[in-house]
């Protein structure tokens, strides 16, 4: 069970917000201070504004009564005043407009441009409680003038203004301060910013007419009637509520802006993440196609072994080739020898045949002549005539030649066979040489890859960088989320707390005011009105002739009376409680123009006079056509009247 908040003083205000938001009081105070949300100040007693003198001069152009004018209406007191003329467009309303102009610091929309242009100087004397002040507009075109205060017998200048803007801010600051009003901050959704309703807007509650469409004020700006009602009722937490509400809107807007930005950032991050992940994926993909260092080592080892094996094979094939060649040399030698032998035998046989036909004549050794006897013996015994050896038979070496030829053929065949073998060994050896070169090239390639092999390193670096960047991006954005949420909770709590405070007071107050509205409206002639209910949003529900209806749905004449009744009811309520902020000055422009029957107007004026006497500080100015009801119920000395076609000034 939550502790029921107490609503007595400022400390309970922050304590309650702390309770609502669950934050420490110190934090609450810090946030409220930073967001400029002030606890409702203690209310001073109401200030009473009374016009004393309205004065202006200038020169009229383009009218029947052309020429200079000098208007002065002085010695004004609280009570009911009437400005009457027999016909329209004689300057009745202008008097009210000029008074309002000087109070507001800027002309009201009703002031006609030509009239404004005629005025060369204007002065408004007024009292706030017992103090006398005077606004002097010395040059309306330029907006120059001064605000002065009467101290003793001396007029002391409070402020000097030299432009229309300065004039406006001077009057605004003065009245907000003096009346204890707060400039009401409201959140304008269309503009997307905080708008301060200044004195010019707040003072709308002082005047009504010539149209009466809005229950309170003359500017039908969203939320303004509600604020005016709350303000003039004297609800102390209204300004706090407004500040808190605006602060909440600002925060909400900031939050949604922040969320939107965060969303943008997140989207951007997502996009970037996808890009980086894509790059990372590609780099990793390429890395998988590249061998690792261990792979390199394994490949290098394998390649080295392959090279050694290939070299060994080449060596053995070279040795085999060498052996084969050396064998070939032997074979060649044998082949040559055998061929030579064939030639030798062939030639020898031929030579032998030549020489055999020539008989020896002598001994080559001793030169002894071969005798006839020896020759005969050779014939008979087939023994050499010289040495006596048996002469050779038919064979002169043919058999040997046959053998030699066969041998030569064999050795040639062997040589040919071996040459074929050598060709095989040679091509085998060439292949082994190719193997070695391939292995060497593979090894060299690996070596150069290892040496220049920075692609892998580069890629690993790229991967590391990308991963780091992805980590960085995916890290949650460090926002002081809790602080923000804390602040939002506190502001929301401040809104709730001030709203609760406003409502708590407002509730009973509105019931009371509503009763008073019925009372006044019936006195003003709306005898069929049985019930009225002024709601927190400044809407007025009524029961008329037994039927429920609203302010917006009744006739213009009824609106006029309800509007006056409402302002007066608020005024009276404030008066009774001593905290209302309405300064007690009312301008009513042309009530008779609102299809109001003379009887009703008579009721209105009579009762208005009565109320102005009940509420001692009330000062009411009515501008209207001179009609019997008007003339009947306003003290003649308080009537400013021009008869016939005369101008008021």
């Amino acid at each position: 069970m939550a502790r029921r908040p107490k609503r007595d003083n400022k400390s309970s205000w922050t304590a309650n917000i702390a309770l609502r938001s669950g934050e420490a009081e110190a934090t609450v105070e810090e946030v409220l201070d930073r967001r400029r949300i002030k606890a409702a100040p203690a209310m001073s007693s109401p200030r009473r504004l009374t016009l004393k003198t309205i004065e202006f001069r200038g020169e009229k152009h383009g009218t029947v009564t052309e020429g200079p004018f000098n208007f002065k209406w002085s010695d004004l007191e609280p009570g009911l005043y009437a400005i009457l003329s027999d016909s329209n467009l004689k300057g009745k309303s202008s008097i009210l407009h000029v008074a309002r102009w000087l109070l507001r610091g800027e002309p009201a929309s009703g002031l006609q441009k030509d009239v404004k242009a005629w005025i060369q100087e204007a002065r408004l004397q007024f009292s706030l409680n017992e103090t006398m002040y005077e606004v002097r507009l010395e040059d309306p075109a330029q907006g120059t003038g001064a605000l002065v205060q009467l101290t003793g017998d001396q007029w002391n200048q409070l402020a000097r203004f030299d432009s229309a803007a300065e004039f406006k801010s001077t009057m605004s600051e003065f009245f907000l301060r003096e009346l204890g009003l707060d400039a009401l901050p409201t959140w304008n959704d269309e503009l997307g910013k905080e708008v301060v309703q200044d004195w010019a807007a707040l003072s709308g509650a002082l005047s009504m007419g010539p149209t009466f469409s809005s229950l309170l004020g003359d500017v039908n700006m969203a939320g303004l009637p509600t604020r005016l009602m709350q303000m003039y009722l004297g609800l102390p937490w209204v300004s706090t509520y407004c500040e808190a509400k605006v602060a909440k809107s600002v925060l909400d807007r900031e939050e949604s802006e922040r969320v939107r930005r965060q969303e943008d950032v997140r989207r951007e991050q997502m996009k970037r993440t996808l890009e980086l992940e894509d790059q990372l994926q590609k780099a990793k993909q390429e890395l998988t196609t590249l061998p690792t260092l261990a792979d390199y080592r394994a490949q290098y080892g394998a390649a080295s072994e392959a090279l050694l094996a290939a070299q060994a094979q080449r060596r053995s094939s070279l040795l085999a080739l060498e052996a084969a060649k050396s064998a070939q040399m032997q074979l060649d030698k044998a082949e040559r020898f055998d061929r030579r032998r064939v030639v030798e035998i062939t030639d020898t046989i031929a030579a032998g045949r030549i020489f055999r036909t020539l008989d020896p004549k002598c001994c080559p050794r001793c030169d002894a002549v071969v005798t006839e006897a020896r020759r005969e013996r050779e014939e008979a015994a087939n023994a050499c005539a010289m040495c006596g050896e048996a002469m050779h038979t038919g064979d002169d070496g043919e058999a040997e030649l046959v053998v030699a030829r066969e041998t030569a053929a064999k050795s040639k065949a062997a040589g040919d066979a071996h040459r074929e073998h050598i060709r095989n060994v040679e091509s085998e050896s060439a292949l082994r040489g190719d193997d070695v070169r391939h292995c060497e090239a593979a090894l060299a390639k690996l070596e150069s890859e290892l040496r220049a092999g920075n692609r892998r390193n580069d890629l690993m670096l790229v991967v590391a960088r990308l991963e780091a960047r992805l980590d960085e991006i995916q890290k949650p954005v460090a926002t002081p989320k809790s602080d923000r949420l804390k602040e939002m909770a506190i502001i929301a709590a401040a809104v709730d707390e001030s709203d609760a405070r406003v409502k708590e007071i407002q509730e009973g107050l509105l019931t009371e005011v509503s009763k008073q509205i019925v009372d006044y409206a019936r006195r003003f002639g709306m005898i069929q009105l049985s019930e009225a209910r002024l709601k927190g949003n400044a809407q007025l529900d009524i029961v008329k002739g037994g039927k429920s209806t609203t302010f917006g749905a009744v006739t213009v004449g009824e609106k006029l009376r309800l509007k006056i009744a409402t302002v007066l009811a608020i005024l009276k309520s404030g008066e009774k409680r001593g905290i209302g902020r309405h300064p007690g000055l009312l301008f009513i422009d042309s009530p008779g123009a609102q299809e109001l029957a003379d009887d009703d107007l008579a009721d209105l004026m009579r009762e208005l006079k009565a109320v102005s006497e009940e509420l001692q500080h009330l000062q009411v100015f009515v501008a209207a056509l001179a009609s019997p009801p008007m003339l009947a119920h306003v003290d003649p000395e308080r009537v400013l009247r021009k008869e016939g076609e005369d101008w008021m000034w």
């Binding site: 030798e344 030639d347 031929a350 030579a351 080559p364 010289m386």
Partner: protein, 208 residues
């Protein structure tokens, strides 16, 4: 089989081709071949066709006769350096192979008569006398045994190559061939076939 017969016929052709006619017959001899060293030198070129080819390339380099180059090509392409080589041993004054047995064959047929000059009991010059019969036998031999024509032709080539040079001069020339000179005493003179083939290839390449 008597292999000196081949030596005899080879020497016979050399003697005939390298002889000069005598001004007048001496004991029926009409021609004379001078110098045993010359005979050995000329015989060397027949027995080592590669060395002959080298000499021919030298002459081609000097005189540019296309026949020399053609002959060298023929020698090399018919593998003569291998087939026709009859190795000789290097001895003090160059290639040497005793010719006594071959000579006795020629002498017993009265185809050659050995003569010479002696001084103090030492032979200082050996010459060979040739008879008309000698030339007739050569002519007949080429006709009846065409395989022997090679010896006749080659004898003409080497005699032409040698010209009027003495045996000593020829031996000196042969001695200069590095391979030949590099051969140790008592060892067979090796082949220079590959060197000659390389020279020939270089010349042919240059001529293209």
């Amino acid at each position: 089989m008597n292999e000196y017969l081949r030596d005899a016929i080879r020497l016979l052709f050399i003697l005939c081709e390298g002889s000069q006619a005598l001004p007048e017959s001496i004991c029926d001899a009409t021609h004379i071949f001078r110098g045993e060293a010359r005979l050995h030198a000329l015989d060397f070129w027949l027995r080592y066709p590669d060395y002959l080819a080298a000499e021919l390339l030298d002459r081609f380099a000097r005189d540019g006769q296309p026949e020399d180059l053609a002959l060298v090509e023929n020698i090399m392409s018919s593998e003569e350096p291998d087939i026709r080589r009859l190795p000789m041993v290097r001895y003090f004054f160059g290639a040497f192979d005793p010719i006594d047995n071959a000579m006795s064959i020629l002498k017993s047929r009265e185809l050659v008569a050995i003569t010479g000059r002696k001084s103090g009991g030492r032979v200082i010059e050996t010459n060979f006398l040739l008879f008309p019969k000698t030339f007739a036998v050569c002519e007949q031999a080429v006709k009846s045994a065409p395989v022997l024509k090679w010896y006749c032709d080659r004898a003409k080539v080497v005699c032409d190559l040698a010209g009027s040079a003495t045996g000593t001069a020829l031996k000196e020339r042969q001695y200069k061939r590095s391979q030949y000179a590099g051969t140790e005493l008592g060892y067979q003179i090796p082949s220079i076939t590959e060197a000659v083939r390389a020279r020939l290839d270089a010349i042919k390449l240059k001529g293209k």
